[in-house]
């Protein structure tokens, strides 16, 4: 049985590892979780992304949630930020499209132009 202090230490260590990863992360993915995003299905999009990260054993990518981006009719929205801080924003993302973004954009550096929101 671990004490709370042990757990804190473990979490600090894990957080540090993740912070290093965040810095060295090739891509950062954020899912918009404002009210419109959630109502449009952002939770399942997040679940699909997390699932792909584990299945594909991807480690150099950091996944976060953000608030609303202000384009409610385009929700769910997913942003992928690349190594030079260039951000691509995808709109109307389904869980299936989210999986494709991981497979194509994140793993093969191929932007899915048809789904990019301008």
């Amino acid at each position: 049985m671990k004490t709370l202090a042990d757990l804190r230490a473990i979490k600090e260590k894990a957080k540090m590892e993740m912070a290093t990863r965040e810095q060295s992360a090739k891509y950062r993915i954020s899912v918009a979780m404002g009210t419109c995003g959630i109502a449009a299905g952002a939770r399942n999009v997040m679940s699909a992304i997390l699932d792909e990260m584990s299945k594909r054993n991807i480690q150099d990518v950091h996944v976060t949630q953000t608030g609303c981006l202000g384009y409610c009719d385009q929700e769910p929205m997913v942003q992928v930020t690349g190594p030079h801080n260039n951000t691509i924003t995808y709109g109307k993302v389904s869980p299936e499209l989210a999986r494709k973004i991981i497979a194509e954009h994140v793993q093969r550096d191929k932007v899915l132009a048809d789904h990019v929101f301008k």
């Binding site: 979490k11 894990a14 957080k15 404002g34 009210t35």
Partner: protein, 183 residues
Amino acid sequence: MRELSLNILDIVTNSIEAEATRVIIAIEERQSQNLLRIRIKDNGRGMDEEFVSKALDPFMTTRTTRSVGMGLSLFRQSAEQSGGDLDIQSQPGVGSLVTATFELDNINRPPLGNMAESLVNLIVGSIDVHFCYLHKTDFGHLCFDSYWLFARMAESESDIYDQVAPAKRLLREKLKEIKSKSF
């Protein structure tokens, strides 16, 4: 929202946007009292009295991206339609507590839905925030702390993403154990 667990995800997102570092989600289901109570407590930046009185107005938002904020109003609507209400206690610099109550057997009450999805996604999507989830029913209680994922991660020297499925499974199982038949 089809599920209260989606409202919860939404309200906790407010806490995260208010820069909370600790969030407690407490759910209490009492068949004996025909009551479902959901409480979300954070240590975020809080709101002053005047703001709280207006926060439930959908036209009240500090968002710069658009002029309406729907999260709290939707949650209140859901509670009121289910014979309950929504209350906000908040103090600037200290934090906020949102409490929503529902009649458990009210026909308009949305189901709680998939809390495991909401909670685990929140934890992994905001790793700097410490989450604690408490769920009490007439049959038992559950307590899940976000440290669980990090401890598992350290023990198995695996990635956080590999803890998502096990954490969701564990939560679903534990919740089933304490669920009443009618819920």
